[in-house]
Symmetry: C2
Subunit: 140 residues, 2 copies
DNA sequence: GTCCTTATTGCAAAAAATTGCAATAAGGAT
DNA sequence: ATCCTTATTGCAATTTTTTGCAATAAGGAC
């Protein structure tokens, strides 16, 4: 089974079709160590699938996010970026140098629980982005 | 003094120019009860300033956010939206019906403090968006 | 394997957002 | 009030993202 097999299995189990395009995009997301923009994903996937088009990448990413296999990771200036859905985690991003620090979900869990209790909302929060200035940039 | 006077004053105090475009966009943001998209702001401002162009709206919003007079309020699917900078607050947004509940900053303050202490980052977090399903939509 | 249904893709076109640069006008100096 | 400097704007062109629709191909039935 290829590395994205677990994910394509979830697709077919849920009645969605497994296409080369979806397989390749999942593959790329799985091997990315950070989140990627649609443009980056297109560039990469296009090497393997020469007649893949941008609209397909955009629609596939949106689709994968909708069914929960990928998630949108908001980055600066509302440029969109995506990453594979894994363990819930969050990012602290420096507004100056763009350095990112990962925040484990446990840190945020208490707050989420409180919000759920108080508002009755069921949270689907698997990626928060906090912005700030990192220690290095504070000095300069 | 017009209603946006406080804001235009801050502009000139800090050496930025006060232009009809900036004045009008501030005016619109001030009278909005929610955050607005660049397109909505353009449409509105264009009535008063017929030869205002989109690029100016985009650049002005980005500029106002940069100097802290406005802030970007991330909404769904990374569409950008802006609101005037006031008291820090956050939103809990329903992914189904798009209903929004405001979350006062005090709820989030503790978490922010922890993150600052642990990472050394200085947070500039004046607007977080939490996503979930609201009580009404959970029933249906 | 072949056929059938329809989800998914690619293409073409449109809409939204961004960029570079010359023209304009804000605000200080005279 | 007029001039000067340069931040800011508008225009034109580009890039990015989205949409509609016909063509294709995934997956089930036979």
């Amino acid at each position: 089974m290829t590395c994205e097999g677990n994910f394509t299995k979830k697709l077919s189990e849920r009645g969605y079709r497994v296409t080369p395009q979806r397989r390749e995009i999942l593959h790329i997301l799985l091997h990315a160590d950070a989140h990627l923009t649609p443009a980056e994903i297109f560039e990469e996937a296009h090497k393997k699938l020469p007649n893949l088009t941008e609209p397909t990448v955009y629609r596939t990413l949106e689709f994968l996010a909708e069914i929960g296999l990928a998630q949108e990771a908001y980055s600066e200036k509302s440029k969109s970026a995506y990453e594979i859905s894994g363990y819930a985690h969050h990012h602290l991003i420096c507004r100056k140098c763009a350095k990112e620090v990962e925040i484990p979900h446990v840190k945020v869990e208490g707050l989420c629980q409180n919000l759920e209790d108080e508002t009755g909302f069921k949270l689907m929060q698997n990626h928060l982005s906090f912005f700030g200035i990192c220690p290095d940039c504070q000095e300069n």
